[in-house]
Subunit: 168 residues, 2 copies
């Protein structure tokens, strides 16, 4: 199968993301190019998962989500996830494994997200970026299944579902 | 809470999507503007859910996903979902309800996706767009939980998880 476009041209060259228009067998595709990302299901010694509530400007609302972040240049997904978890919510240590890898919206964007499980994380001090105003929320693992439908973020529903499934 | 930007400027004006740069209290945000979308968990009389496998150019790969589509101008989410399900995979009728609404990647995009459950759908003839090459795959409801981790698309993992949760 041909999995390369015939032609590609950059139509927007931004800070976080670019937009390219590709031609595939005579059809044009408008594609958002993203560096990739990670999200973390972090379970502490009390059996709670840490979530963050923050203003998401695109949604015009505060959303409750798994801690997550964008891959930086030269970083592996695991390094990025460990860094984000420590910076955003001050959680360190723990035993790490990968729960899954998925595309967030593959119809028009190449963002690929690695979801990790970090078991037995410990509290340290957080160091969020200056423009991140976060509220930390903890849900006990036993509550997660009942609360899935309250969430408004696909990666959080998907990541917690993969976690719950991995525990059975 | 102020949920409007101080300023907005369009930096890319595309066919499916635009990109705007917004200023929020002195911070710039680069945001992909999308019309919104729907996905459908369609269960037929044999207890099977219909999925579609198709080339996703942004992923450079074929992905297995829930039937889904983009909202068209003036269309309600439910109208759009019924149209997409009939066009893409030829399924009609059934009893419809909403399983959830989520953002696909709210850090940088306003795409909001409505996920519907359509129970008791019936086969008709499909009429996919000329550039859609789809393979239809059916999974029995009893297999879904074990297969979640094989999926590589966030809306499909999230949508099927919300469906499974709604059945308990």
């Amino acid at each position: 199968m041909n999995v390369r476009p015939d032609t590609t041209r950059t139509v927007y060259d931004g800070k976080l993301l670019d937009v390219v228009v590709e031609e595939w067998n005579g059809r044009e595709r408008e594609i958002v190019v993203h560096p990739g990302s990670t999200a973390i299901v972090a379970v502490d010694g009390e059996g709670c998962v840490t979530l963050v509530r923050q203003l998401r400007e695109p949604a015009r609302a505060e959303l409750l989500e798994l801690p997550a972040g964008t891959l930086e240049e030269g970083e592996s997904p695991l390094e990025s996830a460990r860094r984000e978890l420590a910076e955003e919510v001050g959680l360190r240590g723990g035993s790490w494994s990968e729960l899954g890898v998925f595309y967030t919206t593959p119809g028009f964007c190449n963002e690929r997200m690695h979801v990790f499980l970090a078991k037995g994380v410990e509290c340290g001090s957080a160091n969020p970026e200056a423009d991140e105003q976060l509220e930390v929320v903890r849900w006990h693992v036993s509550e997660l299944a009942d609360r899935l439908a309250d969430l408004k973020d696909a990666k959080t529903i998907a990541g917690l579902s993969l976690f719950l499934r991995s525990q059975t």
